[in-house]
């Protein structure tokens, strides 16, 4: 049995799809400060204060008026998992969640973006759903009923199995941890007051609201 809601640590990754790599551009990646495209998964952590259940309302930090909504899928880990290989990696996955990985817009991935990515409520998550075939899963993001992004997990650089292999090479994932499979570079920005819906056929949907701007 798996818990209905995520209880562990949530790890995410940027620049894990070809569209994002094209958008940031090889010239940018080769220049300072990056000095080369990422070799290992380019990871970050979303701590417990960021988690919000479906239907929640998120208040942005003071001064923020817009937020990037990174639609993605989280792999919910079902057992302690380390040094996985491609053949057994998905055996460690107990289910999936739809995630709206919220970030205050930040141009640079050079330094950890704690304020931008870890403010209270910065990770709306659906309840845990059964694992489905993710190879061609289409994710759709809507703001106030208008489609703002559609992406396919077929475009991932590291597919879920490979991401699990490369992450678990140096860190053990615990039961209840979540590994997000990647967000779009410069994902669509929702304004304060927006209603957001993220959905994927065969998985369901995740709905949340961005509260009006604080003074």
């Amino acid at each position: 049995m798996i818990k209905q809601h995520v209880s562990g640590t949530v790890y995410g990754v940027v620049l894990n799809d070809h569209a994002s790599l094209r958008k940031i551009g090889s010239e940018t990646l080769e220049a300072a400060p990056y000095k080369g495209a990422p070799k290992a998964p380019a990871m970050y952590i979303k701590p417990a204060n960021t988690r919000v259940a479906c239907g929640g309302t998120i208040s942005l930090p003071a001064g923020a008026t817009n937020v990037e909504v990174g639609a993605t899928i989280g792999l919910v880990i079902g057992r302690a998992a380390a040094r996985l290989n491609r053949d057994n990696a998905l055996d460690a996955v107990a289910g999936i969640v739809l995630a709206g990985d919220l970030s205050l817009p930040h141009d640079s991935y050079y330094r950890p973006a704690i304020r931008e990515k870890c403010f209270d409520g910065a990770l709306p998550l659906s309840s845990v759903k059964p694992l489905v075939d993710l190879a061609n899963l289409q994710l759709r993001t809507e703001f106030d009923g208008l489609v703002v992004e559609q992406r396919s997990l077929a475009d991932l650089v590291r597919d879920p199995a490979q991401l699990l292999v490369d992450v678990s090479e140096f860190m053990t994932l615990a039961e209840g941890d979540v590994l997000l499979v990647g967000v779009s570079y410069q994902a669509p920005q929702a304004a304060a007051g927006s209603q957001v819906r993220i959905s994927a056929e065969g998985v369901g949907s995740l709905n949340f609201s961005i509260a009006g701007a604080q003074k």
């Binding site: 990422p38 991935y109 950890p112 870890c118 209270d120 615990a174 941890d177």
Partner: protein, 253 residues
């Protein structure tokens, strides 16, 4: 008071330090500190670490001091207790310790002012925030492959009550490798002090009991090799011991 957590005879115990330095279980049993299995003194919540928070260290790494705190996060997988063994992978050419004062949060707080920030603190312990520089990449640097490896952040042995450390901003930090002092500094040289860090973090996120802030390290880094015994000590808090092992020892079945 100094409080710790150990595993002993099949159970986890909250322990205190007896006057003679031994470990006291709640029922009065006294154990030698080298004879017990140490766990991190608190079950970690969100663990923050600070990069370049000492001016001399920033200079050592050829960076100018940051204008806002350079904070990053760690997962629970990387935290281990006192006297643990930490793996140096065979392909690493430069793995260094970092002696740090660790601040343990005791209250829930959001938008806490600097003047009230120290009320959030439960106590202090010591961290050794190892880094393997071979794996550095310039994406959310320092990246997780450098800083969030299994067992690469020893913590403990004791959680010392806040009020037992009257001036946390004037504590000597010392690292010894195989008994030889290699790193010294003082928390007085922090760029962003504890109260400023709490004010900064709670300006956008809620801190909760069990959250931990590793406050950064002064200059004096050195490569460590399998077999090295590393002692990281913060004056008036505690001394944390860790041993480096190679892959064969770590994975020996």
């Amino acid at each position: 008071m100094k409080r710790g957590r150990i595993a002993f005879q099949g159970a986890i115990h909250q322990v205190t330090q007896a006057e003679d330095g031994r470990v006291r279980l709640a029922d009065g049993r006294l154990l030698n500190e080298a004879d017990v299995e140490w766990l991190p003194p608190v079950v970690p919540g969100a663990v923050f670490a600070l990069g370049l928070n000492y001016a001399d260290h920033a200079k050592e790494l050829a960076f100018k001091a940051p204008e806002v705190p350079l904070a990053f996060l760690k997962g629970p997988n990387t935290i281990v207790g006192h006297r643990a063994k930490t793996r140096r992978p065979a392909d690493a050419t430069y793995m260094h310790y970092e002696c740090e004062l660790a601040v343990v949060i005791g209250k829930t707080g959001y938008q806490v002012s600097k003047a009230e920030a120290m009320e959030m603190v439960a106590g202090y312990t010591v961290a050794n925030d190892y880094a393997i520089r071979d794996y550095l990449e310039n994406y959310y640097r320092p990246n997780l492959r450098v800083k969030n490896r299994d067992g690469c952040t020893p913590l403990g042995p004791w959680l010392v009550d806040r009020d037992d450390v009257p001036n946390p901003m004037a504590l000597k930090l010392t690292t010894r490798v195989n008994g030889k002092t290699t790193q010294t500094g003082t928390t007085a040289d922090m760029i962003f002090d504890i109260a400023t860090l709490i004010e900064y973090l709670t300006s956008f996120m809620t801190l909760n009991p069990g959250d931990i802030i590793l406050t950064g390290t002064p200059e004096g880094l050195a490569d460590v090799k399998p077999g090295d015994v590393i002692e990281t000590e913060v004056e008036g808090v505690c001394c944390l011991i860790n041993t480096i092992v190679d892959d064969a020892t770590y994975f020996a079945n």
